[in-house]
């Protein structure tokens, strides 16, 4: 058992290092241009965010559509820590994660009592409040956005933070805590009857998700060098939900692939000009309809188990 998981870990690390070396080589040899490098970094950041949403929505079954609020908090917190306190980059990333996680805890305790659509709309409201509040704080640049963030995020930083995130999520999901989270998704009442403290595990998933989103936000702000509150509104959270659902709720590889494809897709469609803004939603709708008919990218990555994906979130 232990040897098996060690072997799996070694294979995973070896593969990711190989991928990293190849990508670094491609970047350093200027085989792809700066614009594509930017997309690559954004894909890594989005994968972190999608995985954190997957932990909350896909594994624990708590429907949140305000996750970009934690990304915003992390982005602004990290920027402030680097600019004002002159903290080294890793520390400000950690600080961003802790601040986002703490706010996640404060929000999670009262709101996670709510279920389904009511939880969704509350988190959406929280997200919009965060955006409006940031818009009204002049020290954070207000509605114009915050400029002058030092560019500290490199491809290596994002890639390895992403790898750590994947490992963390994978290990949570395969621990007893993770199984408790999945049991809450499957049937909260039954889980409680089996002695699982559902509030505790829901909050745990929410805080971990917020922490990861905070770190990802920190990477984002130090890469873009400019952030504005409106770019973190609830539509951004919707993007992550789309990645997660398309990759299959509760599937880590599916989530990674769908995020990579869907982050690249709008850029890849750039040749179509304004039409790309229409092609993307049409593709989304078509994929969802095909999905319902059983032709699904997400099914490829589902582990076989009985009656699992029937109504994951119904």
């Amino acid at each position: 058992m232990i040897r098996n998981s060690l072997k799996r870990f070694a294979i995973f690390m070896a593969t990711s290092i190989i991928i990293f070396v190849i990508l670094t080589f491609i970047i350093n040899q200027n085989i792809i241009n700066q614009y594509d490098v930017r997309i690559l970094v954004l894909i890594c950041i989005n994968i972190m965010l999608a995985l954190s949403v997957n932990l909350i929505v896909g594994f624990t079954g708590q429907f949140t559509i305000g996750h970009s609020a934690f990304m915003a908090i992390g982005a602004y917190a990290a920027a402030m820590l680097t600019i004002n306190l002159k903290l080294p980059f890793p520390l400000s990333l950690l600080g961003a994660g802790i601040i986002a996680g703490f706010i996640g805890l404060l929000i999670g305790i009262p709101t996670l009592r709510l279920k389904g659509d009511y939880l969704a709309i509350t988190t959406l409201g929280f997200c919009q409040i965060v955006v409006v509040v940031i818009q009204n704080i002049p020290q954070l640049g207000g509605a114009q956005g915050l400029t002058g963030i030092p560019p500290k995020t490199t491809f290596a930083w994002t890639f390895f933070t992403m790898i750590v995130t994947i490992l963390v999520i994978y290990n949570i999901v395969h621990s007893s805590q993770g199984r408790a989270m999945i049991s809450i998704r499957e049937d909260e009442i039954a889980a409680e009857a089996m002695g699982i403290n559902s509030t505790k595990y829901k909050i745990m998933a929410f805080v971990i998700g917020a922490f990861i989103a905070g770190v990802a936000g920190g990477l984002y702000s130090h890469y873009m060098m400019y952030i504005e509150p409106q770019s973190f509104n609830f539509l951004k959270s919707m993007d992550f939900i789309v990645y997660v659902v398309l990759g299959g709720l509760g599937s880590i590889p599916g989530c990674i692939i769908s995020t990579a494809v869907l982050t690249y897709l709008p850029e890849g469609l750039r040749g179509f000009g304004d039409l790309r803004m229409v092609i993307y939603p049409i593709l989304l709708i078509v994929i969802m309809i095909l999905n319902a008919k059983g032709i699904s990218p997400s099914k490829l990555f589902k582990r076989k188990s009985k009656g699992r994906d029937k109504d994951a979130i119904a």
């Binding site: 279920k115 009511y118 709309i121 409006v132 919707m238 939603p281």
Partner: protein, 294 residues
């Protein structure tokens, strides 16, 4: 007096929210979907009305009717094409389709050969604004007309839902879809009718707002859509009087915050009210508490 003046302004805004919220609540009540494209149907209604008024020089009532009919047709078409194939799939897939639909309507109508990205101005002679003075009160006739039309439409809806056979079928379907089908109710038709009525009301709201603010653009539906949705949740989602009540509360709260607290924070306060009410009474103001059966 200032206070009363603001109450009227808030009522006018609130009745627009109420008209949109009714559509959200009806659709949710019948298929359990948060129809994110609803705010965009409101926008499309405003554009349909605009073309009726500016291209064909129609007067107010036909403009309103065209806005409502076109919005209803659009709503039914969206339901048939995008939502119907997903009726038995998980709620999240349905929700994402609704978001896709919303993006499609927004970005599609921004294309040059459809409406274009710029804002349009409603013809000002459609319904001239007059100031009516009652004592120290200075009332804008447009506000009064909006409130009046909203009341009329809500009353009409109440009659349809509680006094007609279709309304009875709608109530039965939202209560228990399978049992209703067994009683010989054509569920597909009832769902289409629900979408048609909800979208028609949103279209009416679009035309009224177009006349009131005289500016319309493809993104105008996002914020009112969101706030109307909050209004629906506030009143207890699935309950039509709740949507009206929620809409009016949202409208008055927003107007008062703008006037007495801060115009910048008005959006945040609207959402804060929502969160507080949901935490105190999770089923909404008029919602009944339902026990979960194991």
């Amino acid at each position: 007096m200032e206070f009363l003046q603001q109450v009227i302004n808030g009522l006018a805004l609130g009745s627009v929210y109420a008209l949109i919220a009714i559509g959200y609540t009806m659709v949710y009540g019948i298929i359990g979907l948060i129809n994110f494209a609803h705010g965009d149907i409101y926008m499309m209604g405003a554009f349909f009305g605009f073309f009726a008024a500016s291209k064909f020089n129609l007067p107010f009532i036909p403009t309103l009717a065209i806005g409502m009919i076109c919005a209803a047709v659009l709503g039914v078409a969206i339901e048939k094409i995008a939502y119907k194939p997903l009726r038995n799939s998980p709620k999240l897939s349905l929700l994402i389709t609704a978001i896709g639909m919303s993006l499609l309507l927004e970005n599609g109508s921004r294309l040059d050969f459809i409406f274009g990205p710029d804002y349009r101005t409603y013809p000002s002679n459609l319904l001239p604004s007059q100031i009516i003075k009652i004592g120290a009160l200075r009332l804008d006739s447009l506000h009064l007309i909006i409130i009046l039309i909203s009341i009329l439409l809500a009353a009409l809806l109440q009659i349809i839902v509680f006094r007609t056979k279709v309304g009875k079928a709608m109530r039965a379907t939202s209560f228990d879809k399978d049992a209703a089908a067994l009683m010989g109710i054509n569920i597909d038709n009832i769902i289409s009718i629900t979408f048609a009525i909800g979208s028609a009301l949103a279209g009416a709201a679009g035309v009224l707002v177009g006349i009131l603010y005289s500016r319309i653009d493809p993104y105008m539906g996002i914020m009112p859509g969101l706030k109307a949705f909050i209004a629906a949740v506030l009143g207890g989602i699935g309950i039509i009087p709740g949507a009206v009540l929620g809409g009016i509360i949202m409208g008055i709260a927003e107007t008062f915050t703008k006037v007495y607290i801060s115009s910048k924070l008005s959006d945040a306060i609207a959402f804060a009210i929502l969160i507080v009410i949901l935490l105190i009474k999770p089923s909404g103001l008029l919602g009944k508490k339902s026990n979960v059966k194991v």
